[in-house]
Subunit: 292 residues, 2 copies
């Protein structure tokens, strides 16, 4: 385990539970709250919130100050998974080794749970105990990178290219938005919590975009190489859905070489901070060879 990983994870899990307390079973809106908790608290890898905390510390901030931003990013990520799994999107029934949200709560409640998490993400970010200029800036970064110019735009490209001939540049544009944008929000919000300057935000964005690409390409590699058991989700999904990905365009070996090239670029971006980013270096390196 990487230095600080256990500490970060503990802080994140505790804060997420506190932000979504168990609803009274008698409450008439208990179902949507339970559905939100089901997906948020079911043990994701917490990649994005860990990045938020790590960048806060890299910029000399106190990790506690970045917790609300870390939770916000994880809520946005979780909502996107719930909506992505819906029958009208990827129609997936397995996620993190468990039935997907709509399989448990039904489509309508899953839709609302996603909407609720996206909304609560902003509530979480805006409840940070920081000067309001930092809070407002972090929330603005999140909204601009999670929406139609960022993550949602990337998901749209994903839909539009399904089953079509896609070249590498479209794939890269899609992944930069679909995956890179939210990772960038995670990293940049951590910097904002520490009062970082624009140059540091840019370096964080560069790190994020590069590990985002590495992460996505590794995902495609695992979709072919991995097993359902290890990944906790169905494999071969892209092939089933006729989605072009890096492996189908470049082959496994060249795809993995690309993962390593992006990882090197990410690590290089960390050199622009005055402190040493040990966790973030190890993190980037480990993503490149992750098995799940």
């Amino acid at each position: 385990m990487k230095k600080n990983e256990a500490r970060y994870l503990e802080l994140i899990e505790k804060a997420l539970v506190e932000m979504l307390p168990e609803p009274s079973p008698l409450s008439p809106d208990a179902k949507v709250k339970s559905a939100m908790r089901y997906s948020l608290l079911c043990g994701g890898k917490r990649v994005r919130p860990m990045l938020t905390l790590a960048f806060c510390e890299l910029c000399g901030g106190r990790v506690q100050d970045a917790i609300p931003f870390a939770c916000a990013v994880e809520m946005v990520h979780t909502y996107s998974l719930i909506h992505d799994d819906l029958p009208c999107m990827d129609n997936d029934d397995l996620r993190r080794g468990k039935p997907t949200n709509h399989k448990v709560y039904g489509e309508a409640a899953a839709l609302l749970a996603g909407d609720g998490l996206l909304t609560k993400a902003f509530e979480a970010a805006l409840s940070a105990s920081l000067p309001s200029d930092a809070t407002a800036k972090a929330a603005l970064i999140l909204s601009s990178l999670a929406g139609d110019e960022g993550m949602v735009g990337g998901q749209c490209i994903d839909l539009e290219t399904e089953g079509k001939e896609t070249d590498l540049s479209v794939l890269q544009a899609m992944d930069s938005k679909k995956t890179g944008a939210l990772i960038s929000a995670a990293c940049q919000m951590g910097c904002v919590a520490a009062g970082a300057d624009e140059e540091q935000l840019q370096a964080a964005d560069e790190y994020a975009q590069n590990i985002g690409m590495a992460f996505q390409i590794r995902d495609d590699v695992l979709d072919v190489l991995g097993t359902s058991e290890k990944l906790g989700k169905n494999v071969g999904v892209d092939e089933k859905n006729q989605k072009r990905n890096y492996v189908s365009l470049l082959g496994i070996e060249e795809s993995q070489r690309l993962v390593e090239r992006y990882t090197d670029q990410a690590v290089k971006a960390l050199g622009r901070f005055s402190r040493e980013g040990e966790f973030l270096t190890d993190f980037a390196r480990s993503l490149a060879v992750r098995e799940r």
Copy 2:
């Protein structure tokens, strides 16, 4: 037409178009942007954003300062309609006299368009040219009233009570969240744009909750009395979906009396402001007798 209504509407329509410019047809994410524009710019009544502007002026603020908040509230309202119309929710095919979003763009794009509008609402609010404490406060009000404790929670109650015996108290709790919460956000955000104090925010909330109830009960009355042509949407939907509403519980006459009682309470709340709320008084009165 009420005094100021034309001026408010013109400002709102102009600002909404500016916030969602037409995408280049070549852009790979053009579809989600077009879907967002389709529902946002298709001529709603703009009830909520007008309230935002009117409360800003009632508190002595400049209407321009409240425009981003007004747009934000309308985006949240629009996303909720898009998601509400989806097959897994109300499965409606007509809205404001036009085919619903998913009928035009398909379910997946409609889902994403809703997500995009909800996200962009916060981007709009946080882009306001106001001191960041006001901006952050307004966005926090929006997030807390639009989420699982507010609008989304109300929609969950709506789902859970479908086809079940429901008493008046559950119906009121549902509508207070489903309709009242977002109207309250609209009114309160207008006050925040003018730098109003807590007492004014409370009075705005009281006005909002009361016209929210009146609005919802009048909706139920129109669902029975109105015609599809006048309303621009299907009528008899509640009966078709076996939804309990005020008319089925209290009858039409008693329901309309309730509309008037809530309207009186709303107008009374305006007495707590030092300026005269002519637009807001007329607005409440006209909602009580609206035909569409």
